[in-house]
Symmetry: D2
Subunit: 345 residues, 4 copies
């Protein structure tokens, strides 16, 4: 089989770098193009020096995209910039996996409220498939444009979907307490990701108004087929990678732990990257891998369901899930190139 030709639009951030890390060992694709407007003409390994000798190809401008006969492009661009690219290129022959937030929400109105920005390509919202393979696998296979889920939403939605799809829990409020590594904040230097502000430290942020709130709520609404109310609080961990999400919901009827585990087991029967764990997982249990580990628990004393969900925010929460979507969109084996064993410790 000829290798599929892949483009990575936006090379300087973590998701771009992580896409290259994964795709270098993917047997069915080749990286034909990597772009960067700010570092155009330099080599990829000039921007990410640890790739010296591994990926030294020249970075190009996005304007050169026409010179390459691409099967699929990943957009590792900031939100706002992504929709511009998609609007311009949606008629091209290549498929698109967009890693930004531009096409994840279900309406331009929600986008404008939570992103404080006009959506310039609302048609794209209608066409885009939300790239959660565990929920929308068959739609993704046929999609031309996939909106790769946010990192927090990936962990929260996979933790909640089995309950909501069966209408087993109260949906107001759904309490989602998430903790993320710093790479979620991006590679640009600022006081938020200054070592001395993060190391040996911990804090909450974005109370009440983090954009992933509405993304989670939009998708849970679809899964539950009714209006949910999500209370989402992110926190910043002194670690590079990883998200752990703790979820608190109250069952609507009688519940017990066995029933609960049975429901999850059936729901994720065909999902190669969701592991139902025997122990409470830690974020290092999935580091560098595409797994989402779930731990399911019911507290009889309080009549509450507790779910712990763990991912690597750069892999299952971004570039790994993007490659999983690529595999589906290009008719490849869903697991191809994603067999990375977690790096622990």
């Amino acid at each position: 089989m000829n290798k599929k030709k892949i483009g990575i639009i936006g090379a300087t951030g973590y998701t771009g770098s992580e896409l290259v890390r994964i795709l270098k060992n993917h047997p069915d694709v080749e990286i034909s193009l990597i772009t960067s407007e700010s570092r155009d003409g330099e080599r990829f390994s000039d921007v990410h020096p640890f790739f010296q000798g591994i990926e030294d190809q020249k970075l190009r401008s996005i304007n050169q995209i026409g010179e390459f006969d691409l099967d699929l492009v990943f957009l590792a661009l900031p939100h706002g910039v992504s929709m511009d690219f998609v609007k311009k290129h949606h008629n091209k022959s290549f498929k698109i996996v967009d890693l930004s937030g531009d096409f994840r929400l279900q309406s331009a109105a929600d986008y404008e409220e939570w992103y404080n920005m006009e959506h310039i390509y609302p048609d794209g919202i209608k066409k885009a498939v939300f790239g959660s393979p565990e929920l929308f696998r068959s739609k993704i296979k046929d999609a031309k444009l996939v909106a790769n889920p946010g990192c927090f939403p990936t962990s929260a939605i996979l933790g909640l979907a089995p309950l909501l799809s069966h209408n087993l829990v109260e949906i107001n409020p759904i309490i989602i307490d998430s903790k993320t590594g710093i790479t979620g904040a991006g590679i640009k230097s600022n006081p938020v990701n200054l070592f001395s502000n993060v190391n040996d430290n911990f804090k909450a942020y974005g109370l009440k108004k983090h954009r992933h709130t509405i993304e989670i709520q939009n998708i849970l609404d679809i899964v539950a087929d009714k209006n949910t109310m999500v209370q989402f609080t992110p926190h910043l961990l002194p670690v590079d990678r990883g998200i752990l999400t703790t979820i608190y919901v109250r069952p609507v009827g009688k519940m017990d732990e066995n029933k609960l585990k049975q429901i999850y087991s059936e729901f994720y029967d065909k999902a190669p990257f969701v592991r139902l764990r025997n122990q409470i997982p830690a974020i290092k249990d999935v580091r560098g891998s595409n797994y989402c580990d779930l731990y399911i628990s019911y507290d009889e004393r309080t009549n509450m369901i507790l779910i712990v969900s763990v991912i690597d925010n750069l892999v299952k929460g971004a570039s790994g899930q993007a490659v999983q979507n690529m595999n589906l969109m290009l008719g490849l084996n869903e697991q191809q190139g994603l067999n990375m064993v977690p790096v622990n410790p």
Copy 2:
């Protein structure tokens, strides 16, 4: 004024070491006795080498306590061992601040259920005052035995007391999601506190059954004067010190953020170590100090109250609060010796 004579029973752990760190700069007391059964005869600085030249006194056996004319002793002992000491010495002239969990619960029945151990001195439970100065200051002043609060309970109770004392929130469930530094797990080496298991990592533990659940619930019951239902989940941070607790409660009537802040402001008007913060606090904001920092928030969209509470688990969550209690019990200025500015970064 003559300096008060203080004993520290149990020297090898973090709370013992932290008591010495604080008391060395306390102008009104002297450390007359430090005991350790396992390191008896060695110097305190042999056990904690960074005290070389600062505190080199010999460690004694607890059996020598009769040789010292003490005003107050701190028990930095494991639970189970503490109650044995208190039972034996409760008629002595010295006052006692117990840093273990032995006298914090409100009944021997709760103790036996949550600690899986018979309580050998239930009378002590009746006599002991729960050492939260912000709630029970006047009782502490008169107490002979103070049960110094647990670290998680300190952060949770100070975050919730104003709401519960005014019956402003639903009390089933009260969701308390806490994250702690590793020193909360003690100084004894085991896989839990192995560097490679903690570093760049994060996990939940003790779901549904952590002992601090019942301690929090017992005290909230008193504050609210009714039966509450606490859902408490601790998590382990890759940091040495610090607890951040995120609290989710639903108001019973109409609420707004100004009203909320007013309530807290009045409640903690006379509390020198509770700071109502203008920004969301981080754990390093209180590191090494006796502060409890609170951030108060109301989410109109979801009609939920969010409280973020931050302490240093070894100071306000243990040895610092113990010294604060000592000050009250010995008639000293409540703030004496506790003016440590947070060490940040």
Copy 3:
């Protein structure tokens, strides 16, 4: 081609776990046997839970080794135990890569002096090949027993070999200042690897007497063909993985930086895992990978040569180099299964 059958003797430590991580993605081998005396009968993923669903095979006792028709075994055993195994099994048909220190030194006398233990199988010392492929590739191909180098020695020897093989530097003293992540200290819990003793901390240890001193000196003696004098000081970093070694040597004749770089470039021309870096490398630049990154520098002002050498102690410093040796011993492509891209950040 039939897959080669591999045994891993000793499963509970980091090197055992890392061997499995690497070999799971090696196309030419299968892991036929994993042993553990302490966890015999449990699954590998019971011991290392993050392998759940990846490697769940049962652990066996070493006594069952006869039931398996193995091509090669890795010994991930403590020193002292390894030599016992080798003595007992050296006539078996399988080849052996020993990851302990038992066969690295060049004489039983050195072993007994630096390891404080009698060497029970001195014949093995004579037969064993020191498993540094960059120095002894052809010998390794023919070896039945390979002594896999220590982590510090790997970083130091690769940094110095080009200079010493050309007799370009003074050999008394050779100053080697190394800094390692904590996994070098093993998985067993003790105060040394307690999180609170390592986090936000740094210290030197083993001054003058670390066992890797003599291992480095033995091999440098061979490379230089004369007696060298190594001053080696290890330090403990608050990181999981990685060694950075800073080397200070004085040139014997005239030196300049271009000449220096030329020498290294030629020496490592055929070495797929040694990268001569354009920038000073950091340990995360090689994390999870089999690279040894070198930075070469000459200081005209002081007339000194400075070498910075970086490896992942669990990969190139242990299990990765062991697999590289396996590839050579089994006639496979030297790079097979070792194409892991560094995980950074």
Copy 4:
């Protein structure tokens, strides 16, 4: 006694913040003025929020300095800016402790070579006393302008002074391998101090050309009364605070460890902040305190002297030593306000 009036010029960095942390508990001084040009008019606790309720005074412009009757000012300014201030204000009545590098070198020529900048006030170099109380206590007492030593130089010079003042070691090369926490790089966000570039990482930097090389060499020249040759290599640790320096020197005559320890013991007999440690010190052993911990060792096998020196770079390496100098300059007890016990863990 009236409290001395102190000004802190430059409030936004770590040394400014650390000066306030120390001085808040100093009984003999008051902070009359804190300046910031960029945050003029805001409160100190707006810039460093963890000071809320502790130090809320308004920041002023440097132009307002004439309104305050100051006894001493600390300059927590970048180099280049400091000399401008000193040139302008050297005739004022207040004394000056400059924490920048502007007056530490012994000649304008050295300054211009290593700082790539013209020195605009060479007279200041002549007048300034190098603020190492252990070496120049009596000069500091009489000084109007003190150049507070750099962080690396403090650790290196205190480790070497006893040897060089007795001419006991070869002086070419003196090998100084230092490892520092990130706060040494300042508070300004850039890729160097980005969390993901520092966490779980380690690297060397500034090989051959770090400015502290010449500062160390200048002072060692004075101590030894001859020209030394310093090879200094800094490395960056994933910690907030602390420097550990490992020093390698060869004795000129016969040496043994007892003699060595005797020399250090006598040299630092009157130095309250130098501790000769029984064990190898770790950086957390001095965190938050003004100690410099030294460990002295002689290796008979190699005939080399090894010194390990440890400080908190923000305290003994900057603001603490600055306060120690202030105490001497104002005729106060040298230890006043500097009794902080190390915060460990």
